[in-house]
C-alpha cells in the first residue's frame, strides 16, 4: 500500500506542478505538453519514456488496488457478525472513507484519461492543442465538469491526508512526536496538492485563463 502509494504520489506532485504551466500561456503550455511525450529523447527513442512511465503507473495503480482489496477482504472476514449499534467511528473522516474514496478516484481517473489524454469526452479533443482542450473543458457552460473535477480532487485530498500519514506509519514512523509531525505534513501536503490541482479549472471558469 505504502510503496505503490508513494509512486503515485510522486507522479501527482509532478502532474500538479506541470498543470500550473497553464498560467504561462498557450504556447508555453503546449510546448511543455509535447515535451512530456518525448522526455529522454536523445537517449530513448520517441515516446519510450512516456510508455515506461505509463507502465510503471499502471502497475502501481493495480498493485495499490490489489493490496486494498486484500485488506478489505480480510477486514470483512475478520468481522462476520456486524454490530447492531455502531455510532460514527471516532477516528478521522479521511481514514473512514479510504475504500469508497479510492473507488471514486479510480472512476475519476478513467474519465480524466478519456477526457484529456485520448480526448474522447473533450469538446475540442485535439491532442496537438492541449491548452485549448483544457480551456474548452472547464468553460463556464460546462460547470458540471468542473464540479465533478472538484469533487474528485477533494476525495483525492482526503485519500492523501490519511494515505500519506499511513504510509509514514507503515514504513516505520514510530515516535509520538514524529506522529504529530507526520499527521501535520500529510494534512499540509493534501491541502497543497488539492489546491494546486483545483486552481486550474477555477482559473478557466473565472476567465483568468482563456
Amino acid at each position: 500500500m505504502a510503496v505503490t502509494g508513494i509512486i503515485l504520489v510522486l507522479f501527482l506532485i509532478a502532474h500538479m506542478l506541470g498543470n500550473l504551466k497553464v498560467f504561462t500561456g498557450a504556447t508555453s503550455f503546449d510546448h511543455y505538453a509535447h515535451w512530456l511525450r518525448d522526455i529522454g529523447k536523445p537517449v530513448l527513442p520517441g515516446v519510450w519514456f512516456l510508455w515506461i512511465q505509463r507502465g510503471v503507473l499502471t502497475v502501481a495503480v493495480l498493485a495499490h488496488i490489489a493490496a486494498a482489496t486484500v485488506l478489505a477482504r480480510r477486514s470483512r472476514a475478520a468481522r462476520p457478525v456486524r454490530y447492531a449499534h455502531r455510532p460514527k467511528v471516532q477516528g478521522s473522516y479521511a481514514a473512514r472513507t479510504m475504500r469508497w474514496g479510492g473507488v471514486i478516484i479510480l472512476l475519476f481517473v478513467i474519465y480524466h484519461l478519456l477526457d484529456l489524454t485520448t480526448g474522447h469526452l473533450n469538446p475540442v479533443g485535439d491532442p496537438s492543442k492541449p491548452y485549448s482542450n483544457v480551456v474548452a473543458d472547464f468553460a463556464p457552460e460546462r460547470w458540471y465538469v468542473t464540479l465533478f473535477y472538484t469533487l474528485a480532487i477533494v476525495a483525492l485530498g482526503f485519500h492523501l491526508r490519511h494515505g500519506a500519514f499511513s504510509a509514514f506509519r507503515s514504513l516505520g514512523q514510530q515516535t509520538p512526536r514524529g506522529e504529530a509531525r507526520a499527521r501535520a505534513a500529510a494534512l499540509v501536503f493534501a491541502v497543497a496538492l488539492s489546491a494546486g490541482f483545483l486552481v486550474v479549472p477555477f482559473a478557466v471558469l473565472t476567465g483568468l485563463v482563456s
Binding site: 468481522r79 462476520p80 478521522s92
Partner: protein, 254 residues
C-alpha cells in the same frame, strides 16, 4: 434511574443469537456498569430466567477480563476506563443502552457477552516472552535502561489484553495488542536477543488467528482503556521491516 437495556443473548456458540430488551429500574448512579448487570441478573434469576453471561474478574480495571460494546463503543462512553470501572452516572435516566459482545472472527462468542479470547494467547505464545534464566530478581542497576525507553516500554506494558482494540477496529485487527506486546520487550535490553524473530512470529500468529489487517485508522487507541498510543504500531512496523529485510535466519523460535 430507570433504564432500557437491549442485550445480545446467545445461548451457546452454535445459537444464532438476538437482541433482547430488558427494563431495569431503580439503578443507582453510583453503581458500576457490571453491578447494574448484577442487579438485572438477580432479578432474572428470581423470575426463573437465564441470567446474562458476562466476563469479569478483578472489577478494578486491571485484569482485562470484562469488556463489552456499550452503545457501539468498546467499554462504553468514558475514555480510558474498563467496563467494570464505568459508573452509571455516565448515563441518564430513561436511556436505552445497547450491549453487545466483542465482534471478531478470532473472538467467537461462547455465550451472551462472553467471547473466547484465546487467539491473544496464541499471539503471546508465538513470541511474547523472553528466554532468560529464572531465579531471584537481578540487581536492577546491572542493566542500564534509558529513561525514555523505560517509559515507552512501560506504557506498552500497561496493556491488559481486554480485546477492546479488536472490537473497536473497523478492520477487526488486533495490531494494537500485538504491537504493545512486541514493544514492551523490544525497547528493553532483555528483549533484544529474540527481537526480530519475535515480531515475525507474533504477526504471523496474529494473521493466522483471523484478525484483519491494520490500516492505521486509529480507532483502537481511542477505545483502549489503558491508552496504548497508536505509535506503538509504528514501532512494530519498524521491527517487522528490519526483520524481513535482514539476511539473518528469522525463523520464529530459532
Amino acid at each position: 434511574m430507570n433504564l432500557t437495556l437491549r442485550i445480545w443473548r446467545q445461548s451457546g456458540p452454535e445459537d444464532k443469537g438476538r437482541m433482547v430488551t430488558y427494563q431495569v429500574d431503580d439503578v443507582s448512579p453510583d453503581m458500576s456498569f457490571l453491578e447494574m448487570l448484577d442487579v438485572l441478573n438477580e432479578r432474572l434469576i428470581l423470575a426463573g430466567e437465564e441470567p446474562v453471561a458476562f466476563d469479569h474478574d478483578c472489577r478494578e480495571g486491571i485484569c482485562g477480563m470484562c469488556g463489552m460494546m456499550i452503545n457501539g463503543v468498546a467499554h462504553g462512553p468514558q475514555r480510558g476506563t474498563t467496563t467494570c470501572q464505568l459508573h452509571m452516572r455516565q448515563f441518564s435516566d430513561g436511556d436505552t443502552i445497547d450491549i453487545e459482545p466483542w465482534r471478531a472472527q478470532a473472538f467467537p462468542v461462547i455465550k451472551d457477552l462472553v467471547v473466547n479470547r484465546s487467539a491473544f494467547d496464541k499471539i503471546i505464545a508465538a513470541g511474547g516472552y523472553i528466554t532468560a534464566p529464572t531465579g531471584s530478581a537481578p540487581e536492577a542497576h546491572s542493566v542500564p535502561v534509558a529513561k525514555a525507553n523505560a517509559d515507552a516500554a512501560f506504557e506498552a506494558a500497561a496493556c491488559i489484553g481486554c480485546g477492546a482494540c479488536v472490537a473497536a477496529c473497523p478492520n477487526g485487527s488486533g495490531m494494537l495488542f500485538t504491537a504493545a506486546k512486541v514493544t514492551q520487550l523490544s525497547l528493553l535490553p532483555q528483549g533484544q536477543p529474540e527481537r526480530y524473530t519475535r515480531v515475525i512470529g507474533m504477526v504471523e500468529a496474529h494473521d493466522e488467528a483471523g484478525f484483519g489487517g491494520c490500516t492505521n485508522a486509529g480507532e483502537c487507541t481511542v477505545a483502549c482503556p489503558k491508552g496504548i498510543p497508536l505509535n506503538t504500531i509504528g514501532r512494530l512496523n519498524r521491527d517487522y521491516l528490519k526483520a524481513t529485510t535482514k539476511q539473518a535466519d528469522n525463523t520464529p523460535g530459532s
